[in-house]
Amino acid sequence: MAMLNSLGFILGTTLMYATPLLFTSLGGVMSENSGVVNIGLEGMMTFGAFAAATVGYFSGNPWLGFLAGGLASGFLGFLHALACVTFAANQVVSGIAINFLGPGLALFLSRKFFDGATMTYNLPIEMKMPKYFNNMLPEGTFVRQVLNQDISVFMAFTLVLLIWFLLYRTKLGLRIRAVGEHPKAADTLGVNVSRIRYLCVILSGVFAGFGGASMSLAVASNFFQTLISGQGFIALAAMIFGKWKPHGAMVACLIFGCAQAMTIFIGGTGLRVPQEFLSMAPYILTLVILMGFVGRAVAPASDGIPYIKDES
């Protein structure tokens, strides 16, 4: 029984922690499949987390907060698209700028709205993302332990399905992938490369914002400066590990989520492992996985290369 309990706890925690990563990772999938590298996910996620917590706090409605998180980061996505698509700037540099801009804006606005505090006020439980399936699941069972989750968890996994379907089964998806592989070929067939890339980069921001929001409105109950601390980068790594595919990213996020869950689980067992080492685990896992697997992963052929039209 104790075994099953532990397993339930680990699986449930895995899902909880995988969710913000998954949203953000899917953002990366969108952007990079259209050929725009987005290392700004971290900044977008941070800003989204702040915007969600703030709007959630003032409106009292977590759904409005969640949406605001997406919109705020979608705006950063728009800036990234403006730099990378319209001005054909270096995508890594633009991403780095976003990574400074996101947390900077969050801190600045936080001081403005919350009387000089660098964190948003705590949200009472009824102002956080709801757990709709809470009452449907029988008390004290394994299933309940695993699936008693915030609605954002279910949304993230549904989004995997939706994006997979979009990319591999629809007209728009075919065009997105074509633009990421060979924009000039797509252009000669009348596909509007810029429009597709704008769409994907903005959506990338929106999903990263959802990732941030599921952190500040569900996993935690406010925004503070170290809330995201690297999760955007882990999501980026997960996308690469997942070979730029939504289902691949999902598997990778579950692995990272599991690492996080194990950290918490071991911390709670009274095993004498220093907290510092436990907290390091997900990041070390990221390094190890990237060292071992990235060499074999194949990015879309034109990922990271600006498309300049009048160049033959």
Binding site: R169, T170, K171, L172, G173, L174, R175, R177, A178, E181, H182, K184, A185, A186, D187, T188, L189, G190, V191, A301, K309, D310, S312
Partner: protein, 512 residues
């Protein structure tokens, strides 16, 4: 000639001007194409043929001029407009997405889809199959582009246009990547297309193809239209003179010679490519004093790796390379140059020249560390300038100024700089790898006569080329390479295109 309908002009371009910065790529060009004809656009590289067609296809916006398609004046501001008017374009560099299937590539941008934009690949594949049968263009709809032959990729490109109901097809240098057999097949294909009522505009600089395939030919030189002629009534010679602006000779004068002893001997050479596969696989050959040995073959059969191994740029796994019977296997390039081996490399911008260096600096690239060009590690610019000036004079390099950056020269002049540098080292063996790639007729003539001059000075020349005509014109003996092996060596006088073509496709027999 197909049924050309003179009463209907299908495409009419009037006074097209297209500038890139200060460069006028198209200078008031007029073009009239009738329904059902094959119309060739002939011109040297950079003459503006492709630019003109990109304007027609909506990829470029002209600075001025008018376009009429089937009688209507059309502003072609993007390819969609051209496509909707029935124009299809097959680009020189295929616009295909390697990891996508044949069907996905064909339908992209004009997808068969149900509600919510859901793709119906099954139906699309059937449609592709149907047109491929209608026009006799065999493809496998479900295969990925990266897994099919170049010939089939080209058929996919043509099907892409036909799928969009194109009745005017623009084909940009379509035969550059094909074997002689594939070229013949291709000419039949375009003939077939005109019989089915399509109009074909063929961009090319190959005169033979024009004679074989085209009804009319418009000649463009330096952005200006020179003339439009009926192909049947014009000789290749006349076409060439109009293209270049002066008379050119195709046939390099070459007297019979008796070759001497072997300068280069290659024995059972094995070299691996970047993917660690055996690109050169047990290859043996010999180049003798006073002969040009032509190495014919389809691209990617180990030519590149062979030349890199010969010049010391790629490691030899086994076998040996001997120059004057001295073993130079796996020696460094300096050593090989010092054995009096010089090279005109395949990629003049990457390997032949440092494009950011001046012409002078490029000319002494192999001798900069020797007297009189430097002493005690300090360059002597006066000596360099004098020497470069002499070569610029002798080899008629334009502009006649050693201080301009090599990258700003035209392709032909860049090649002259390389030839000047290599030939004036007085090599015993000259390796020329695709020496005329991307050059125009005038420059080709120059390169060819330089190679023959080396041979006539009793030097050995190894000519590696993808152009079979070039090999046949220049060589004394022809070796055919297929999958890293020599599949046959014939004397040029006994060689015919058919046999060589078959050997290049792997159908040859070991007899050399």
């Amino acid at each position: 000639m197909a049924d050309v309908d003179f009463t209907h002009t299908t495409v009419e371009m009037r006074g097209i001007v297209k500038k890139f910065g200060s460069l006028v790529a198209n200078d008031h060009i007029d073009l009239t194409v009738h329904k059902g004809e094959v119309h060739a656009l002939l011109g040297e590289n950079g003459a503006g043929k492709t630019t003109l067609m990109n304007v027609l296809y909506g990829l470029y916006q002209p600075n001025s001029g008018e376009i009429f398609i089937k009688g209507d004046k059309v502003e072609v501001t993007n390819p969609n407009i051209a496509i909707s008017r029935g124009i299809g374009m097959v680009h020189q560099h295929f616009m295909l997405i390697p990891p996508f299937t044949v069907t996905q590539n064909i339908i992209l941008g004009k997808e068969t889809s149900g509600p919510f934009g859901v793709l119906d690949i099954q139906k699309a594949a059937e449609e592709v199959k149907a047109i491929s049968e209608q026009y006799d263009l065999y493809v496998d709809p479900d295969q990925k582009i990266e897994d099919i032959s170049v010939g089939m990729q080209q058929r996919v490109e043509i099907l892409k246009a036909l799928y969009r109901n194109a009745d005017i097809l623009i084909l940009d240098e379509p035969t550059a990547v094909l074997t002689p057999q594939e070229i013949r097949e291709f000419i039949t294909i375009i003939r077939n297309l005109t019989f089915q009522g399509k109009t074909v505009i063929l961009i090319t600089h190959k005169l033979r193809e024009i004679k074989q395939a085209a009804d009319y030919c418009t000649i463009i030189r330096r952005g200006k239209r020179i003339d439009t002629v009926e192909v049947e009534k014009t000789t290749e010679q006349e076409l060439a003179s109009m293209m270049v602006g002066r008379s050119v000779s195709f046939y390099v004068k070459k007297e019979a010679r008796i070759p001497g002893e072997a300068i280069l001997q290659v024995k059972d050479l094995v070299v691996r490519d970047n993917r660690n596969l055996k690109a050169v696989d047990g290859l043996s050959l010999e180049v003798r004093k006073g002969e040009i040995l032509g190495l014919a073959g389809v691209d990617g059969n180990g030519q590149k790796e062979l030349v890199e191994a010969l010049t010391g740029l790629r490691r030899v796994e086994s076998g040996g390379i001997f120059v004057h019977e001295r073993d130079v296997t796996n020696r460094d390039p300096r050593d090989i140059i010092d054995s009096k081996v010089c090279t005109i490399p395949e990629d003049r911008q990457k390997r032949g020249l440092v494009s950011d260096f001046t012409v002078e600096e490029n000319i002494i690239l192999e001798n900069f560390d020797r007297k009189p060009f430097s002493s005690r590690g300090v360059l002597n610019f006066q000596a360099i300038r004098d020497y470069a000036g002499k070569l610029i004079d002798t080899f008629q390099i334009s502009p006649p100024d050693g201080t301009v950056r090599a990258g700003t020269l035209s392709g032909g002049n860049q090649q002259k700089v390389i030839i000047a540098r290599e030939v004036s080292n007085d090599p015993d063996l000259l390796i020329a790898s695709q020496p005329t790639r991307g050059l125009d007729v005038g420059a080709i003539e120059y390169v060819h006569s330089s190679l023959v001059a080396q041979r006539d000075k009793d030097k050995a020349v190894l000519l590696v080329s993808l152009e079979l005509d070039e090999i046949m014109d220049l060589s004394d003996r022809i070796a055919v390479i297929y999958e890293g092996k020599i599949v046959g060596i014939v004397n040029a006088v006994d060689a015919d295109e058919n046999t060589l073509g078959l050997m290049m496709a792997g159908g040859g027999q070991e007899n050399g």
